[in-house]
């Protein structure tokens, strides 16, 4: 009996001691993980990524050869963005007056164009390449009407202004003329596009209200005219030399039409003076293109335009071999820049870069610092275009 009661006492004490540590009443709170907002749709459709943010009129985006850097013009000066680190570096002084920028073949020096006053010509500069942050630039040429980089190198093919004609020259990286072409083009050059092997160039010119297209054989130094617009019609931007022929946008001159209407035209690469350009019907009868840019591999065309007069502008990708037109953006309220340099491909052809901002006349107060706002200002957007058909 004595032993049983002793056992019972021990059990009760043990239970009291054992339960003593179970009475902790202070709750330990663990905050729920913050819910990420869906940032994939920035006004141009899902998957489109803003590459820049904040104020500033941006334009002329240009990828570095490794697709890891992006250069662009902002309010007249050149900025380079490291896409991995997200850092920005200014490459010219703020009062430089840059109009466009292009990355050199070797990825170190940038070619910057600066309009020359009221003239339609511009000067060409090269930025420094030592990465020291030096704002110094080197003037490499003046009086240029249009220029394009020769594939596979850092040379430029430039069209220079003459009295009534344009002269072509091939420039080395430092601006030295390595070849001056003797055949001149009537009118002022407005755009240059080189064939993939760099042996030929497609050049648009303007003369007395008419636009012409010329193919220049850079090896033989010969020129042939392949198209001439009717009076009042203009060639918009630069024509594009593709693997499937020569493409250009032409239509009623903006000055003569309240709502200019343009068409996408195609010519075979071996077109002559009597070859008639065909309207590219693959994009649709009512489609109004406003800008085109050939892909790096030459088999696709990025087309900025509207399905019809009242549709919003969107980016489309035209497969030049099959004729398939794929929609790359679903724009509702964004104004997309249509300047010739404002549409570009990534070096690998996986994405197209454009510049856009939201169209709004109303004042909107946002709970965000100005440098984090994207839609209200012209910013650079990357549109993936690899799997559009899926």
């Amino acid at each position: 009996m004595r032993s049983r009661s002793r056992t019972s006492i021990i059990l009760v004490v043990a239970c009291v001691i054992g339960l003593a540590g179970c009475g902790h009443t202070d709750e330990v709170l663990i905050d729920p993980a913050p819910v990420e907002r869906d940032r994939t749709d920035l006004g141009l459709g899902p998957g489109v990524r803003a590459m820049t943010a904040g104020p500033g009129d941006k334009g002329s985006p240009s990828y570095g050869p490794d697709d890891e850097r992006l250069a662009f013009v902002m309010d007249g000066y050149v900025v380079e963005k490291d896409l991995s680190a997200g850092t920005l570096e200014r490459r010219t002084t703020k009062d430089f007056g840059a109009g466009a920028v292009d990355w050199g073949h070797y990825g170190e020096k940038l070619t910057v164009t600066v309009p020359e006053g009221e003239e339609e010509t511009f000067a060409l500069y090269r930025t420094q390449s030592d990465g020291s942050g030096d704002m110094g630039v080197t003037l490499i040429s003046e009086g240029v009407l249009a220029a394009a980089r020769v594939p596979g190198g850092s040379d430029l093919l430039a069209a220079f202004a003459g009295e009534t004609q344009s002269t072509l020259a091939r420039l080395k990286e430092d601006g030295e003329v390595s070849r001056l072409y003797t055949r001149k083009l009537d009118g002022s050059a407005t755009g240059v596009s080189l064939s993939p092997n760099g042996h030929q160039a497609l050049i648009s010119t303007r003369e007395d209200g008419f636009f012409s297209l010329y193919v220049v054989d850079l090896l033989e130094d010969s020129v042939r005219q392949v198209a001439r617009t009717e009076e009042g019609k203009e060639v918009l931007g630069a024509p594009q030399w593709t693997r499937e022929g020569l493409y250009y946008v032409a239509g009623e001159n903006a000055a003569s039409e309240e709502t200019p209407v343009y068409e996408l035209y195609r010519l075979p690469a071996d077109a002559g003076a009597n070859t008639r350009a065909e309207i590219v019907s693959d994009i649709g009868e009512d489609f109004i293109p406003s800008n085109i840019r050939v892909s790096p591999e030459g088999n696709r065309l990025a087309v900025l335009g509207r399905r019809s007069l009242n549709s919003p502008a969107n980016l489309y990708v035209l497969d030049l071999e099959s004729g398939d037109l794929q929609t790359a953006t679903s724009n509702e309220n964004m104004e997309i820049k249509t300047g010739p340099g404002d549409l570009t491909w990534s070096t690998g052809g996986q994405s197209v870069v454009l510049v856009a901002r939201a169209m709004s006349a109303e004042i909107e107060v946002q709970a965000t610092p100005a440098d984090k706002i994207t839609a209200d200002f012209y910013n650079v957007y990357e549109v993936p275009v690899e799997d559009l058909g899926d």
Partner: protein
């Protein structure tokens, strides 16, 4: 039978005594001011300081000096806020413009559930641009950016940004 019960009772006692000793030690060793696992919550953060920048007054502002800008600051928390530092930054949309105009005001005390209006006389006259070269005429004239920030000594903050048409 009795031996088996004794062994079982002894084992149970040993287990509970050991467990109890460890729990007591754990409680004694712990700090009185226990840190919760949740993220620290500043007493004046997030919704406790609220700022209002009314859109209707923004529509009446002109591109001229001495424009009256009023900002409502509210303490939506349960504790008073000792002071609020409010700043207004007026800048051009054009990032090449070197000039930026700053204005500052301090609200001394904001009781719980109290709202105070702080006024600024801001210069919204046009900025001078370093160059017109290279600017896209299609973009139109640059707009003016108003950025208002409010902060408290204990780290709470609020920000509002508005883009005024040219």
């Amino acid at each position: 039978m009795r031996d088996a019960i004794s062994w079982f009772a002894a084992a149970a006692v040993a287990f509970f005594v050991t467990a109890g000793a460890f729990l007591l030690l754990a409680n004694l060793g712990g700090s009185r001011e226990e840190q919760p696992l949740s993220r620290p919550r500043p007493t004046e953060s997030g919704p406790l300081l609220r700022m209002e920048l009314r859109e209707d007054q923004l529509e009446n502002l002109e591109h001229a000096p001495d424009q009256r800008l009023e900002v409502d600051l509210s303490n939506t928390g349960a504790e008073p806020i000792s002071s609020v530092n409010a700043t207004v930054k007026v800048a051009s949309e054009n990032t090449a413009v070197p000039e930026t105009r700053f204005y500052r005001a301090v609200v001394d005390k904001l009781k719980a559930d109290e709202t105070k209006t702080v006024g600024f006389e801001v210069d919204l006259s046009s900025f001078e641009y370093p160059t017109d070269a290279g600017l896209d005429p299609a973009a139109g004239p640059p707009r003016t950016i108003l950025e208002v920030r409010a902060t408290t000594p204990r780290g709470a903050s609020a920000i509002k940004t508005a883009v005024l048409p040219p």
